[in-house]
Each structure stands twice: as structure tokens, then as C-alpha cells.
Symmetry: C2
Subunit: 347 residues, 2 copies
């Protein structure tokens, strides 16, 4: 487990609440979360009052808080799984750690509790190496280094802006995979963090991520929403779209993205077979979306993250908007988000 | 540990012998190697007779065998660490597994002996996924799969041509790193195999590799030789150059390269501080070589591996040959190698 020297005031933990009773969830996380400030966003569709146990420093936001802050014309951006993006918007901290409310702390191969915050912040505070792949994984980790042949001029690395954690037990398969292999669980704890190379695209999952909000904040954008987006991860692709935007922007600006540790333990939720129809829509979209993000190039003039999101929105509108109106709406959402970041956020 | 269904006749194990007495080395490997044919190449500088224990099906080649097969004008290609390439050349098997003679079998996290052949062949027999990164590593491994958002059209993958294994104990640091951190050992067994994404370059180490000779053979080329190349890995860069050639060719032809399992256990050998001067030369070269391989693009007309090596040699000669004569000699070696592959090899 990496040990990062963390200032409590540098971190906001953002939780989107799909269940009103967060008692069991938060009590499990208490050893890890209690020293940090929590931003809890209540799913706008959730009727009951939130139940939050004692011992946490938190601020909870409801639909009316969202409406008040962003205006009712923008509040649709923050429904369902995208409600957490409201937390990203209002945070003023350097780092955001965000974990789904169906996840609990995992244990490593030695049986020790994984400190998800410490590992994410260590990933973000140490450099990333997107321009040459280190075969022994993260060279900045204790006991690791650059392997023979790694150019010295690339060994100082670049700033890491996004850290993508993984999942034990219920892995982030899509609904068809989970439906075909209902008993399949991920039990392999891979003790590694790696920088995803520049120009390589990946499916970023929003289940367990952290980012440097000051470096990359506006790129974590709520944009692509499926018509039938539901309350299970496999019914959504908002995080996949957002992750590819963020990766393209990191590549363009010379920032790094890491993947691997820390793990969380994901619990059972939902029925994959019932979700098949909804997910099918998202799966089909990926066939167009992935080649698009693999080939899109931002103009040199885009020098800030906000610039990059605006440019990306323009290109999405132009190249994908005509294919399918959903992409056009994603582009509109990206434009609206950048405006909000500048007015409501810290942009 | 992956279980590959291996036909003994598909595999040649190639060993370059820098020590005359291979008894201890081969006896340790007996449980894994004894069912396969071994090609043993005696380092041309080694004077004593090879000592090979009973129980192995092998063919040993000496300097005079090399001279006879390739002609004395070409035999300089196969000196020192490059002697193993003679084994690649004369093999007629589909798969080559090559392990340095200072390596012994490793144990995994459960204390089980790692079957290096089985894991390499499993890596080569299952598809690679260079065009989109799977965050849960090799999706074809037992218990693994593609994560949500992975396009279905990319899930059949491409053929894997090169499998790069790793090292426990003495890792493949360069001489300066080892000299600075003399006590540093790699003790982290990372239980993962991943496809190195297309266009990402990496330092391929020749210590523990396997490849599909029918798919990629001529790309494993002995080319860049340091003036002071010695008998320790950290005094060489031939494998780093060869690996970048192979990676560029795989990217061009749509083949995959995997990295990770299997591990071997590397023993102590050499004095890093004494090697610093020799290695310094190789390290300096990497600063030019890496950007070159990152940007080189082969013409569409290069449709076979042989074509690709010839094209690459031409580009090396043109773009790097004027900078430093060593690169020009590397280009000449690549041309000579392709000719040999066609005449002596199975090309």
C-alpha cells in the first residue's frame, strides 16, 4: 500500500447516494473516510431523507440545492449517476475521490484493509509516465524503478491528473457479460498501478476514481446520457464517455492517467438480464464513440482544460451530432458544463 | 497460472550459454523444460566445453556451427548476448521461448513453481487487445473478461506475436540504477498479463521472452551493438532495440505484444559500478532511439515482417545513420539478418 502524505484539507470525498440509509455504508468506510470532508449528493429521484451516521464531516446536497446553484435549466445534467458531478463542481479542494455507494473497503492479498484515499492520492501525487511504458509498472512505487532502456529524459514523468481504481467481487462487466456469466466474480487482486500510455483509450469506470480537480476538473464532464439510463452501473455509459474525454485532454495537455490500485469491494446489485435492453443501447454507441475518441485531435490553441472541453464539444457536434441526436445532446451538455464551471465552480 | 494446451513439437527453448557448466541451471529447469527441444548456443567467446546434464532433448551450437551456417562474414551478428538469435534463425518451430542462463524458475504468490513455458504459450495462443486498454488486464484469462464500455467489435482481439515476461529478485535495472540502489530487489509478483497498447513503446528485455516465430520471427533481429558490449545485461541494449523494432512492426501489421507473467528468478551477477562506463554509452543512445521508434511509420507497402525490417533498416540508415555510425551498422545488420532469414532460416 502506498503511503501518501495527505493534508486532510486537500481532499473532498464525493458520494452519490442512491439509497437513503447510508449508515452501514459509511460505518464500513469510517476508518478511511472520517478524517476527510464528504460531499454527499442525494440522487434527485430519491424521496426519503438521507440517514448519515455520526462521526463524519460532511455536506449533503439535494435536488433543491442543485437547482439553486445551477438553475433549473441545468439541473438535468445532475440526475442519476451524474449527480456526483455536482460534487465535483462545488468542491474547492485540490483532490476528489469518488466511490459508488454499493462499494465497501477491499482487503489486499495480505488481508489488510485497502486505504482507498491514501492509494489514490499517492497515484496522483507521484508522476505518471505516459510516453514510454515501464514493464515493471509504477516506477515511483517503493521497491520499483525504471527498467533498463528507459530513457533518462523521460524519467521525471508528468503530472498525474486521474487515478482509476478497480473492483473486487462484482467487477464492472456490462450487462450482457454479467448475464452470460452470472457467477463470475473478480477475485484477482493485482498489486500494481500503471500509467495508461498516451494515445491509448480505455473504459474509465466512475465506480472508484480520483482526480486532481485543479489540474483536470472541468474534463470530468457529465455529458452522454442514455435515453433509458437507470440506477445500475451497467445501464450507464456517462463515465465511459467522460473518461475518454478526460484521457484525450490529458494526452493533449501532457498529463497522466493511472489505472490499477486501489481496489474496492463491490456488492451485488440489480438483475443483469433485466438490464440487457437498456445496456444494449450504450454498447451499440461505443462502436462509434471509441473510434471517434481514438482519432480526435484537439487544436494546439486549446491550452486549458476548459478550452479542450469546448473544442471537443464542437467536434462532437460536427462529427457525431448528425449521426445520432444523443451525441448532439452530449455536446450541448459539455458546453453547459464549462459555463457552469466558470460561473458556479472554481473556474 | 494459465494452462495452455501445448504440443511439445511446437516449441523450441533457446538458451545462450555464457557459462560452460549448465548442470545446475538445467537441473533446476528440468520439471519445465525436459519435455521440449532445447537449442543451446554457446557464446563464441566461451572456451571450455559445455556441460549439459542428462535428460534433455537438445542441440548445442558452437562458433564453428554458426560460421558454417551463416558464413564467417555474418558470424559477428551472433556474438555475446546476440548469440541466441542464431537459435531463432535455425529453429523451425512455431514458438520460441528464450531465457537467460542466470535465471531460475520463480514461485508465484502461493509458493507454486511458475511454468514459464506454459504461461508464455498461453499468452501467445490467446488474442491480444492493442486497440483499447482493458482495465482488468488480460480479458482472456480465467475469471477475467472485458469491462463495461469495451467495444464488442474489438473483443475478438488480434494475434499475439510477442510475450515479454518479468523478473523477481535482481530486476532488469540499468547499471546506474543498480549502482545507486545496490540492495534494491524486485519482490513484487504482479499477477497480471496485459497487452501493451498500439503505438506505445516499451523497453523489451531479452531475459525472458517468447514469440510466435512464424508470425514475427524476422523482427527479432540482432542489430544494435555497443562498442563495449559486455557479458552482463546492463552492458547491452541489443534487446531494447530489437524490442522496439518488433513493437513497431507489430503495430504496423496489427499484431499484439503482451507483458507481465511469467516471472523468472534472476540471480546476482556482475558488478554494476564496474559496468557503469559501458552502460553509459547505451543509455545515451536511448535518448535518440526512443523518439525515433515512437515516430517512425512504415509504408503501407510493407506487408510482411521481412519487408518491415528492410524498410525499417532503410529509415534507420537515412535518419539515424548520419548522426552516429553505430546506427548505420545496426541498419546493415538488419539487412544482413533478413537475407539470412530467407536463405538459412525458414523465410
Amino acid at each position: 500500500m502506498a503511503e501518501a502524505n495527505i493534508n486532510d484539507n486537500e481532499v473532498d470525498i464525493v458520494i452519490a447516494a442512491f439509497h437513503s440509509d447510508l449508515t452501514a455504508f459509511l460505518n464500513e468506510w469510517k476508518p478511511i473516510f472520517s478524517r476527510f470532508h464528504l460531499i454527499i449528493i442525494k440522487d434527485p429521484d430519491l424521496k426519503e431523507e438521507l440517514r448519515i451516521p455520526e462521526g463524519f464531516n460532511f455536506h449533503a446536497y439535494t435536488k433543491s440545492d442543485i437547482d439553486k446553484a445551477v438553475g433549473s435549466s441545468n439541473s438535468h445534467l445532475f440526475s442519476g449517476y451524474s449527480s456526483r458531478y455536482f460534487g465535483y463542481l462545488i468542491s474547492r479542494k485540490k483532490y476528489i475521490v469518488s466511490v459508488d455507494d454499493d462499494c465497501l473497503p477491499a482487503k489486499d492479498n495480505m488481508g489488510c484493509l485497502v486505504d482507498v484515499v491514501s492509494q489514490h492520492i499517492a497515484n496522483l501525487k507521484t508522476p505518471a509516465t505516459p510516453f514510454f511504458f515501464n514493464t515493471l509498472y509504477d516506477p515511483y512505487r517503493k521497491g520499483a524503478d525504471f527498467v533498463r532502456g528507459y530513457p533518462f529524459s523521460l524519467r521525471s514523468g508528468v503530472s498525474c491528473a486521474l487515478s482509476c481504481g478497480l473492483w473486487l467481487n462484482v467487477a464492472d462487466w456490462d450487462a450482457p457479460t454479467q448475464a452470460l456469466k452470472p457467477g463470475q466474480r473478480n477475485s484477482r487482486y493485482v498489486d500494481a498501478v500503471l500509467t495508461v500510455p498516451a494515445k491509448a483509450m480505455m473504459p474509465v469506470s466512475g465506480i472508484n476514481i480520483a482526480f486532481d480537480r485543479e489540474l483536470l476538473g472541468p474534463a470530468l464532464v457529465p455529458a452522454l446520457r442514455l435515453g433509458g439510463e437507470g440506477k445500475f452501473r451497467w445501464e450507464t455509459v456517462e463515465d465511459i464517455w467522460c473518461g475518454m474525454c478526460a484521457k484525450v485532454i490529458c494526452d493533449h495537455l501532457g498529463l497522466g492517467v493511472k489505472s490499477g490500485l486501489p481496489y474496492v469491494w463491490r456488492s451485488e446489485r440489480g438483475n443483469a438480464i433485466q438490464s440487457l435492453k437498456k445496456e444494449g443501447e450504450g454498447m451499440k454507441l461505443m462502436e462509434k464513440v471509441v473510434p471517434f475518441f481514438q482519432s480526435v485531435r484537439l487544436p494546439q490553441s486549446a491550452a486549458t482544460v476548459e478550452d479542450c472541453v469546448v473544442e471537443m464539444a464542437n467536434i462532437v457536434k460536427e462529427q457525431l451530432g448528425q449521426v445520432e441526436p444523443m451525441y448532439g445532446r452530449a455536446a450541448d451538455a459539455m458546453m453547459a458544463w464549462v459555463k457552469l464551471w466558470k460561473s458556479v465552480g472554481s473556474g
